[in-house]
């Protein structure tokens, strides 16, 4: 599968990474090269093979649905990049999304 510029732009949009127009050609070449490389898997017969999502032969452990931690307001917000105003309640901030 070779990707064209439109496909690369669509992938970048899905991945939420801004890509400049002048980068599209180069990226299309690189990503197509990688896809070409991985496509050799097509020659492997995988009929009846169960996909392997983890090597751990574990049943996921269960625990009681109770609060185990909390009240760490300051720690949670300590690395927020912008606008944590504690005397206004303390929030993560984002650009305005509702007009």
């Amino acid at each position: 599968m070779s990707l064209d510029k439109a496909a690369v732009r669509a992938i970048a949009e899905l991945a939420r990474i801004e890509v400049r127009d002048e980068e599209l050609d180069h990226l299309a070449g690189e990503l197509s090269g990688i896809l070409h490389f991985v496509e050799q898997l097509a020659e492997v017969n995988t009929d009846g093979v169960q996909p392997m999502s983890s090597v751990a032969d574990l049943t996921l452990p269960m625990r009681k649905d109770v609060v185990t931690d909390g009240g760490q307001f300051a720690a949670v917000l300590a690395n927020a990049p912008d606008g944590v105003v504690e005397d206004q309640g303390g929030f993560f901030t984002v650009p305005k999304v509702v007009e």
């Binding site: 990474i17 898997l41 169960q50 999502s53 090597v55 690395n79 650009p95």
Partner: protein
């Protein structure tokens, strides 16, 4: 270079127990060495003040008769482990300035065992790379020099390149690494040290910045097999905070170093001799087989027929998981934020500015193979081939106890090599990736030097949760190899 920095962890432990020197003295020697070798770029952040405090506390614990397994041992921590109050970046601009409010399970266990943290070690950005050239905070230089071209700057391997370089240059007695497709083993081989990726689930991933969650596994990097066994004993163990952490007891790995491997069967996979494998790698591998024979083990040729598909499988599975894991870097809760005209615009600008080219490339490939219409053709297909690769190993371990292969297809290469095409760079991990996909323990140890005087590594692969056999065989090979070479200035 101080005599104290030349000791192994086991030697320093025994000498401190006898009162020959203190943790403070040992730590000071390492802080001095670390500062003298800043040219290597091994550390992103040095924490000398914290180290001194920890060393003092360690000496007090020892006086009180409460010495732990790593009491007073100065270690470096890969900057992928969250360390409370100390910047943790994954070598990415997007996490610059991030100070975790908690300690990762593994680094916390090392502190509980009495160790001292010297600082945070450089790596490829988000542990994606085999050269340590993709770090936002600068590349790491391999302390080893080529005899034929001493001016040539060599890579330390990656992604745990800072860890490997620091241990080789004696500016940490040991270090943590993480391994997703070879990130402990390949840099260990390039820098002439020992490192083990334990069985998936042996060490907790909690508090380790995630790359590919079904593959990531922390492990120790140190100067010899015994030191790795000591460190792994302190790092391993079940952790309820990581749901894939194995609820298994941690054996005494050091006690496995009995030196007796008589009767063991060692698998030699014929698929690990690809066309064009260099003679020097071939020779060191043959030498390794001879050492094991001489010690009473039996080499057995085995076949791992899906080996050639491991690399393409990995480069679907790992980017897919990475694209999902790295979705959290959105400029809202931590890390870099670049303002935009809307929420989406802020996400896109932040991620464009925060991620380097290799990370961006992998996120985009991962996004593509998981997208509607392509999921079955790529991701699901790769998961099926992954099972076939794991089954190959399962079958092989019905007849052998351990498998011996080269660690990497070459010695350390120059910083200007292998940079044009991402796929060429990925070939470095051709011998380590199959083990990762199967979740098995893999250890690399230095086995000799090539014609240029650069270290070459051999890899031992074991059954799941049988690190003990891996350590036992590695100990025998280490004695036979008698590898005492060090980089210049050590």
């Amino acid at each position: 270079m101080s005599e104290l920095t030349k000791l192994t962890i086991a030697q320093a432990r025994d000498k401190m127990a006898k009162g020959e020197f203190t943790a403070v003295e040992l730590t000071e020697a390492h802080i001095k060495a670390m500062e003298a070798k800043r040219n290597l770029g091994a550390y992103i952040v040095e924490t000398p003040d914290l180290a001194r405090e920890q060393a003092k506390a360690s000496d007090l614990r020892r006086q009180a008769g409460q010495a732990g397994a790593l009491e007073g041992i100065p270690l470096g921590i890969k900057d992928l482990f969250c360390t409370k109050g100390v910047q943790t970046t994954a070598a990415s601009h997007i996490l610059e300035g991030f100070k975790p409010q908690y300690e990762s399970t593994v680094s916390g266990k090392l502190l509980d065992a009495g160790s001292v943290m010297l600082g945070k070690l450089n790596l490829d950005e988000f542990a994606m790379g085999s050269s340590n050239m993709t770090s936002y905070f600068g590349k790491v230089t391999n302390p080893w020099k080529s005899k034929s071209d001493a001016a040539k700057q060599l890579v330390p391997g990656g992604s745990s390149g800072g860890s490997a370089a620091a241990v080789a240059a004696r500016i940490a007695m040991g270090a943590t690494g993480t391994d997703t497709g070879g990130s402990i083993r390949q840099p260990a081989a390039f820098c002439g040290i020992t490192g083990i990726k334990p069985t998936y689930g042996r060490c907790s991933r909690w508090g380790v910045v995630a790359f590919a969650s079904s593959l990531d596994q922390p492990g120790p990097m140190a100067r010899d097999v015994r030191d790795c066994a000591i460190m792994l004993g302190a790092m391993a163990g079940h952790d309820s905070k990581d749901s894939t952490s194995a609820p298994m007891a941690v054996p005494n790995f050091e006690a496995a170093l009995t030196g007796d491997i008589r009767g063991l069967k060692v698998g030699i996979p014929k698929e690990y001799r690809p066309d064009g494998l260099s003679d020097e790698i071939q020779q060191v591998w043959e030498q390794g087989i001879e050492w094991l024979k001489a010690a009473g083990a039996t080499p057995v040729e085995i076949t791992l027929p899906h080996t050639k598909y491991a690399l393409p499988t990995y480069y679907i599975v790992a980017p897919a998981e990475a694209s999902s894991n790295l979705a959290r870097y959105d400029g809202v809760r931590f890390g870099l934020r670049v303002e935009g005209s809307s929420l989406d615009d802020m996400y896109k600008k932040t991620r464009a500015a925060g991620f380097g080219p290799e990370v961006r490339r992998r996120i985009m490939i991962g996004t593509y193979v998981l997208s509607a219409g392509y999921y079955d053709a790529y991701y699901s297909k790769a998961q099926k081939v992954r099972r076939l690769i794991a089954d190959d190993f399962k079958k092989a371990f019905e007849t052998v106890d351990v498998i011996l292969t080269p660690t990497a297809p070459s010695a350390a290469f120059g910083m200007d090599e292998n940079t044009d095409d991402p796929v060429t760079m990925w070939l470095n991990d051709v011998f380590t990736i199959p083990t990762s996909l199967a979740g098995l323990p893999g250890l690399s140890l230095p086995a000799g030097l090539n014609a240029d005087g650069l270290p070459l590594g051999l890899q031992l692969i074991g059954r799941p949760f049988d690190e003990e056999t891996v350590f036992k065989v590695a100990g025998v090979m280490e004695s036979a190899a008698g590898f005492t070479a060090t980089p210049e200035g050590v």
